[in-house]
């Protein structure tokens, strides 16, 4: 099996937990991280197939949310795969040209990576190995790291290393990678595991101009590919400034939902689409009755720019059941349109964004309402250019 990278992107959140490690934001999940990284590799080419690989469970609305947020055509297929690094390599090597392959890890090493594949021979399969060991790292009494390392991962690595030693080992905890590497020199890549890890390692190889073999390990399985060509564009999404995770709401409370209202709003709210009337007038949320020309139901949904500027913003500091405080909420003027959107401010310390600040509307889980993730757009301020 062969494939080729078109464009590749990696994403790491900017939030930190109590230990100082990077953590997924309070409004991030597998869907929002997948969309964030996928948008960075899409360049307007039609995508026919999306494979989202993650060890985390994906919400029932996840596929629809990804299709809306990426503005996919009606015939495009979004496939979700429960798995880690090996599943991602399999999905990559099996993909048709023009596929989007995304890996997301929300856990302790939150990250996401995506690649658009092209036809060609830039990446070729370099072996697949299974071991009869039911090792899954599922925790509990079967979670014995040295046993798994010695009886699963080391034999798998030896089998995949046969012709030529790997320059990247990915998918398993960073400590195990170091122990298995012995004295070989690996490409320097962030300490990550799970589905996005092979793409982070590939990005590191591209950045270092290193071709060679990449091994992915996951439970009792291993897969390898050979990166044979360099020069593909890599986008690295990582903000300079980190933000401490807020404390959870002091009083838990269920935020009510109307499923009817949620369903009616979904395509416009998750896709960031306005209604455009035959007369040209835009409305957001979509109006069926045009306020300019008076036509009824003469509208269609159109994607609108994500860039915008803060018209007004306030910071709520008083405790409120069901919400973490403080939080900032803004009215954002959307570029190239007369439209504005009420949006929470994200990826920034509460109170740090002022009127006039520019930024992007990014898909986030704005609330979980009676167990249902409520996706919509938050305002992510543009960072000052690092000096």
């Amino acid at each position: 099996m062969e494939s080729s990278f078109g464009a590749l992107a990696t994403y790491r959140p900017c939030w930190t937990d109590a230990s100082g490690g990077l953590a997924a934001g309070p409004d991030e999940d597998v869907v929002t991280m997948a969309v964030a990284v996928a948008r960075a590799v899409l360049n307007g080419d039609p995508v026919r197939h999306v494979a989202l690989v993650s060890r985390q469970s994906i919400p029932a609305v996840g596929r629809a949310a990804i299709a809306s947020a990426l503005n996919l055509s009606e015939t495009a297929v979004v496939e979700t795969v429960a798995g880690g690094a090996v599943s991602l390599v399999d999905a990559l090597l099996a993909s048709e040209p023009g596929s989007l392959v995304i890996g997301v890890e929300v856990g302790p090493q939150p990250s996401a990576a995506a690649v658009i594949t092209r036809g060609g021979t830039g990446v070729s399969a370099a072996g697949h190995a299974e071991h009869g060991l039911p090792a899954g790292g599922s925790g509990g009494r079967h979670d014995d790291p040295r046993f798994i390392r010695e009886r699963a991962w080391r034999p798998l690595l030896e089998a995949l290393d046969r012709d030529r030693k790997a320059v990247a080992i990915t998918g398993i905890p960073p400590r195990a990678i170091r122990e298995l590497a012995d004295d070989r020199r690996l490409v320097e890549s962030p300490d990550l595991d799970g589905a996005p890890a092979p793409l982070f390692a590939a990005a590191a190889m591209l950045a270092a101009d290193v071709t060679g073999k990449l091994v992915a390990l996951e439970g009792g399985s291993g897969a390898a590919f050979e990166l044979r060509e360099l020069g593909w564009p890599v986008t690295r999404l990582q903000r300079h400034e980190t933000v401490q995770l807020p404390a959870p709401p002091s009083v838990a409370a269920e935020i009510a939902i109307s499923l009817s209202a949620y369903e009616r709003a979904f395509e416009a709210k998750v896709g960031l689409k306005a209604a455009r009337c035959d007369c040209g007038e835009l409305s957001l949320p979509p109006r069926s009755h045009c306020l300019k020309c008076g036509r009824q139901n003469a509208t269609r949904l159109v994607a609108i720019p994500h860039a915008g500027e803060v018209y007004s913003v306030v910071t709520v500091r008083v405790p409120l059941p069901g919400l973490s405080v403080p939080y900032s909420i803004a009215i954002v003027s959307i570029d190239e349109t007369p439209l504005r959107l009420l949006s929470p401010v994200t990826d920034a310390r509460a109170g740090s964004v002022a009127i006039g600040r520019r930024g992007e509307l990014v898909l986030r889980r704005l609330a979980t309402r009676e167990g249902i993730p409520d996706y919509g757009y938050a305002f992510q301020p543009t960072e000052a250019v690092a000096s």
Binding site: V314, I329, I331, A367
Partner: protein, 386 residues
């Protein structure tokens, strides 16, 4: 059309009335209003009632009013129009009496905001005022709702925190004398500005309290007014205005078009302008909102609200005293009762009997702005005689 008079007005003291239910508050306010009628009025003389209540307490509002006040033989209509509820209830009664359908009507406003915790009340109000899919889960609580306007207003016109704090200091000072006020203590500029933050740019002393309260007015036709008093107060103008319900759709957030629309209608009906007003009770739910109201009601030019409060013009001793009762800020804010209580204050002012009497007050104005800043109401009252 006939002129309409107010011949009686009363209210119970506003506050956190944990020990008093709505069924006790309503008869309390109605009894006060009846007792204030100079020549007396029997309950049985009331021909119809309008009841303004924002959130239902203890069940079906019209029935609760009729049942608790012994008014089963008259028609009762509940009015709900967000924070403009009180003045809108009066407006509807004025149309019915002015139109000749009734000679004597009761207008009651009440709310029991402290029947639930303050945080729960915020969620309840968001449910009343926000788009369920787009805005409701974002936590745009009532103070944030107004703060989004005031933040932009401060940005465009250079309004300062100190100018906003002056509103709180003034209204608290006025409330000290008012036995019906919820917060009867003076405060200083320093205290207001150093108070814990609720929603920037508002600290806790920039915000009105969440109050329980009830207030009532007795309105009559010209034909029967003198049967009840030799000093009626005349309802000369009523106006209601609305605006876009989503903040994202408000083109200029430094003004409340709902107020300007309501005020335009009320001034036109009364045949007067802002310069004629002697005393005003305006919707100071948050300090900065009072400054915006000055502009929307025509008391000063756009952007001049900060300078107007600084000039002292709206203090009791100024040329246009605003909120002599203490306003929502210090008298309290039970939304359904708020507009009615403003008219109770103006009834006393225009009859020369207010605790903080404005000398020679002849024209009075009451104003509300509310909901998702999408409804405004203005009532203009005139003293009897030239």
């Amino acid at each position: 059309l006939r002129n309409v008079a107010i011949v009686g007005a009363g209210m119970i003291p506003f506050g956190e009335l944990f020990g008093t239910g709505i069924k006790e508050m309503l008869p309390g306010a109605v009894a006060e209003a009846l007792a204030s009628v100079d020549k007396g009025m029997e309950r049985a003389e009331i021909e119809a009632a309008w009841f303004g209540e924002l959130t239902t307490t203890d069940g079906f509002p019209s029935g609760v009013l009729a049942d608790s006040c012994g008014l089963l033989d008259i028609p009762v209509t509940r009015v709900e129009n967000a924070c403009a509820t009180g003045n809108d209830a009066l407006r509807n009664a004025v149309y019915a009496v002015g139109g000749g359908y009734f000679d004597v009507a009761l207008v009651v406003g009440a709310d029991k905001t402290r029947e639930s915790s303050p945080g729960a009340t915020f969620w309840d109000w968001m449910g009343l005022t926000r788009d369920m899919a787009w805005d409701y889960p974002l936590g745009l609580i009532a103070p944030a709702n107004f703060a989004l306007h005031v933040a932009r207003y401060m940005h465009e016109y250079g309004i300062t925190n100190e100018q906003m704090a002056m509103v709180a200091v003034k209204n608290h000072a006025n409330a000290v004398n008012n036995p019906k006020a919820h917060l009867r203590f003076p405060i200083t500029l320093e205290k207001v500005m150093a108070a814990p933050r609720v929603v920037d740019p508002f600290g806790v002393l920039d915000c009105c309290p969440q109050s329980d309260g009830a207030a009532a007015l007795l309105v009559t036709s010209t034909e029967v007014a003198r049967r009840y008093t030799d000093h009626p107060v005349w309802v000369r103008g009523v106006g209601l205005g609305v605006d876009r319900v989503m903040h994202a759709h408000k083109a200029d957030m430094t003004t409340f078009p709902a107020t300007t629309r309501a005020a335009g209608r009320a001034y036109a009906m009364a045949g007067i302008g802002p310069a004629d007003i002697d005393v005003a009770e305006v919707h100071d739910c948050f300090t900065g909102v009072e400054l915006m109201n000055y502009e929307d009601l025509g008391f000063c030019d756009r952007g001049e609200g900060g300078r107007l409060i600084e000039s002292g013009a709206t203090q009791l001793s100024g040329r246009l005293p605003v909120n002599p009762s203490g306003g929502l800020k210090a008298k309290g804010h039970p939304p359904g009762a708020t507009g009615i209580a403003q008219c109770v204050e103006l009834f006393d002012q225009l009859r020369g009997k207010a605790v903080n009497q404005v000398d020679g007050a002849h024209w009075g104005l009451a104003h509300n702005i509310g909901g998702p800043t999408a409804v405004g109401a203005v009532t203009i009252l005139e003293a009897d005689g030239a």
